[in-house]
Symmetry: C3
Subunit: 321 residues, 3 copies
Amino acid sequence: MSRHLQLTENGKLKHFLSIEGLDKALLTEILDTAESFAGISEHQVKKVPLLRGKTIVNLFFENSTRTRTTFELAATRLSADVLNINIATSATSKGESLLDTIRNLEAMHVDMFVVRHALSGAAHFIAQHTAPHISVINAGDGQHAHPTQAMLDMFTIRQHKKHFEGLKVAIVGDILHSRVARSQILALNTLGVSEVRVIAPKTLLPAHVRSMGVIPLHDMDAGLKDVDVIIMLRLQKERMNSAFLPSESEFFRCYGLTEAKLALAKPDAIVMHPGPINRGVEIASSVADGSQSVILQQVSNGIAVRMAVMTMTMGSRGGMQ
Amino acid sequence: MSRHLQLTENGKLKHFLSIEGLDKALLTEILDTAESFAGISEHQVKKVPLLRGKTIVNLFFENSTRTRTTFELAATRLSADVLNINIATSATSKGESLLDTIRNLEAMHVDMFVVRHALSGAAHFIAQHTAPHISVINAGDGQHAHPTQAMLDMFTIRQHKKHFEGLKVAIVGDILHSRVARSQILALNTLGVSEVRVIAPKTLLPAHVRSMGVIPLHDMDAGLKDVDVIIMLRLQKERMNSAFLPSESEFFRCYGLTEAKLALAKPDAIVMHPGPINRGVEIASSVADGSQSVILQQVSNGIAVRMAVMTMTMGSRGGMQ
Amino acid sequence: MSRHLQLTENGKLKHFLSIEGLDKALLTEILDTAESFAGISEHQVKKVPLLRGKTIVNLFFENSTRTRTTFELAATRLSADVLNINIATSATSKGESLLDTIRNLEAMHVDMFVVRHALSGAAHFIAQHTAPHISVINAGDGQHAHPTQAMLDMFTIRQHKKHFEGLKVAIVGDILHSRVARSQILALNTLGVSEVRVIAPKTLLPAHVRSMGVIPLHDMDAGLKDVDVIIMLRLQKERMNSAFLPSESEFFRCYGLTEAKLALAKPDAIVMHPGPINRGVEIASSVADGSQSVILQQVSNGIAVRMAVMTMTMGSRGGMQ
């Protein structure tokens, strides 16, 4: 159903809600389109007129300055007009249903909703109910998906490894609660890596995790052995000292990425993290700032990937508007 | 005095503060100008350069995401630069008088204030004291006026009924506290409808309501009989269960718009509401979403009407800048 | 070190962090550049394309609507894209270090940070650690510096007095806690005024104030005698009734600027204040609104000075981009 909802009759991207249901060709098209945008942010004039006169709404039901910023920059560099609506802090939205909020914004002739919501499925729900000319991009919904994050990760991997075939990738940390991990696993498997390992204590792994096409491991040393890519997840500190997790120092000892542990991976392995990083909790500063870290490249690539998804869903690939 | 303040020596609109004092010709000019803008929001490139290089300040002393959004979109589609200032949340404004705030913004060479304020008369006060080149638009002041809302309602009525002559209009709900109703009544009478009825319990009608040129009614069935237009007002929930109002269900039973009550109006009657709607309180969902509802068209028309008022007060009608 | 950090190898302005270390020629260049921008805000189209396609980040760790607004307008009138980030209210920034925040924004290919921070030295710290292509402007750091405020004051003085040579300037109020006063004193002395007097109770003067090149005075009547320029400082009300200060009325009696006290200065003396003013606390309304007051001209000049500093640090003087 995700496939059906996300694609037009001609198989073009209409909404970008989830990696689920998208095939390798389409994910590759996103990466190729992003590549064509990657240079723009380094130009003297960082703008192209592809979405001029379009209105893009950052509809954030959950506060996230970082994610909002990357979407705002992507839209601005495409020359779109951006409207930031923070429903969490909006008094007027009280008592109005989500659907009524959407209907009202539609009536203002907006063209795109970039949706962040604490509930899984919120972006799908909006895409199912919005007007036909509007595109919806999921900027993170509950514990479900964060597909633009996954695609910027894929972009970064391809940048360094050229191909996905044959790659061994380890994802380390709180898999259970991570929408980022869920989207990454789907994208990695669709793009054809040879092995996805998830490394976490039992309490932070979903019950039937093998069915996602991954190899679960509880021992980090074994897990990192010979991998090409290490993806560290952010530890949500509010989960610390709960039933899920021991102390920060205990977590770091078992699952923190240190130089010693990094040495177990391939010599040219890259280290990734969706940010913001907790130094000394899930990753040592020397690794985060080290030569194998591509964490800041992920941020740069995030702008290009979001520009790609925005233009593709709006039917503006190749400036054919 | 409102007329004197709102118009230039040549009778052109300078500020838009209130319907009071504006004649039929001028209100009609606003509607005609809005009509010329109505198509722009459906263009591929939703922008005209009429106010390029102008600085429009959304000066909101009262939070209202919805109203701020419509003015921001209207300004953006006219290519103006928008500055959002939320005085309610601004720490620096503490202790500074309203006049000093205005003087400072004037000194920054802004061109327009869109003012929302909890006190009646705030927009008038600013218009009286601001620099000659600046225009002021009232985006709602206390219980006094909300003239752009009234004009988008008139636009919507004309869209469906072609003429105002001969129309019977019913306004239902909390007339006493409603700046929207006050502005609507003035506009409807100026534009020459044949009858304006206000329908509410005694506690929610002003004391000398007949002097406003309306027929007060307490019985909704009688009130809706044969009307062409039904305007439902939003019930301010904070007034519920006070001296003014019985319970929500009791209010809905007496003054909520149901399909049965709607059947008392003319068969082609339209149903309006300024939003956001309280489903099941002042209006049944089946009516709000029904074929006679034009509630979302009101929202669309709001952008066009605000573009009209912005260009007219800035002397940019017809792109003659 | 400030000089070294602020200038390129060719002696051009790279960052604008402090008046310290900048020579008379460079301050004069800022004033001359600002003069070329002063007319733009009075044009029909208040925009020049000098910074089109550049991304300027208002990075405010301390809330200040007024200062943020002037920088936003300056950037907008240079056609730059502005990103407002209010770290004080940003939940996502929790736990992320200042340096990680900067690194992430750099990775998004922004071009300038306008920094406001409660800690002295924050803007310097960012300038020291940021990427080579990024410029940093200090919009106020702790009790250290507020150099754009000082330069708009210098601009206003030159506008009225033509030359700095021979001028006597009095700064009145809480010198001890004022970053504005600190920057003003440096600028006035660098530009060659003949005398800078600071007038305040002992509790509000720094310990070794004479070493800053000023004459400290506790008696306002003696201090204002024959001066050309009077700069009143804003009294931070939260310091009132503390160990530093007597009551408001007592302060006004001793150090408030009244018409009687103003009469002690030269007949053509100008009255300045960085705003927002506390009427009846540090300045009488009749003086603030009187013919010798240039307080609102300071605000206007603030836009031009910030446009100058933005283009100079970005290497865009004279549109030579």
